[in-house]
Symmetry: C2
Subunit: 206 residues, 2 copies
Amino acid sequence: MQFSSSLLENAVNEFAKLPGIGKKTALRLVLHLLKMDASNVQGFGETLIRMRQEIKFCQRCYNIADADICSICSNSMRKQELICVVESIREVIAIESTQQYNGIYHVLGGIISPLDGIGPDQLNIEPLVSRVLKEHTQELIFALNPNIQGDTTIYYIQKKLQGSGVKVTTIARGIAFGGELEYADEMTLARSITNRLPVESYRTGK
Amino acid sequence: MQFSSSLLENAVNEFAKLPGIGKKTALRLVLHLLKMDASNVQGFGETLIRMRQEIKFCQRCYNIADADICSICSNSMRKQELICVVESIREVIAIESTQQYNGIYHVLGGIISPLDGIGPDQLNIEPLVSRVLKEHTQELIFALNPNIQGDTTIYYIQKKLQGSGVKVTTIARGIAFGGELEYADEMTLARSITNRLPVESYRTGK
């Protein structure tokens, strides 16, 4: 692309560095910014800079927070003895959006994946173990993606907690609501038969 | 979406205001920014703010510029008597990228569209007419999108320039390279037969 303005070119190049945004999309976004009020564009830029500079990670659960302890951990209405273990804050946002979970979280910051060079030491596993022992946690719910790396991570943490008396569970796998049985993969279908539920619990969701 | 941080939420909302970016994409972009160095994010934000505040429009052709006159207009190697009339700077960038055009431009800032409430007075038509008369332009090439609004705009400007002796042309319509004849619309196919070219000029592109 040939630009007649280096200011425009720089802005397009900055946008095009973001994942999933090519040069054409970047140009569309920049031309949109040009049509906006200068004050709004200033607000946009300053919001991003401030976010990057001021955002913190909760010292207890490693979730994104505005203060040292995140709003979920510091909420006394939540069950402090129930911890949901997730890979990243994406999953925290997804689970919070269901408005069905009333415990707290622990963000691992990734999962054990030897092929990618990620071992237990690079993740927030040690803090999780010491936290569970110190806080007298009753149950850990693993909400990791169902693959080998996720299973390895669960197995590793479970071993670390052996003898601590903490109940370890994982979220249910099965046919999604709205999913068609004939298109489900065999593993999921087989597991959903093995882990079948009484119809009453299915109806009430309890 | 439920966020545990208002800094994060604000940044996601700002991104989601941009065209074609929903909340999920906005979250992905913001999480990417969080992984970047703070100095790079600062550069990103400041580039956008600076671009919006400092960018100018060329006083001659209304293209985007860093100075009062854009780099295309001030380039003495370009044919100053040949003006390509376009709707927006998008088309300038597209034509410049071909590296085949050696004249200068005039950006209308839109096209005449009574249904959208856009009349000739809201566009840079008056400056174009006075410019053509003052600069002794020899040829105007219209590179507008082929629709009723584009044709209306060409007709309006052509009438304004009647008697000035300026040659008025429009870019060729036809079957695109790589296009299949059987899928071309009838209008394009019919025009491409009416405006057929000698094979030599097709081969050499002159």
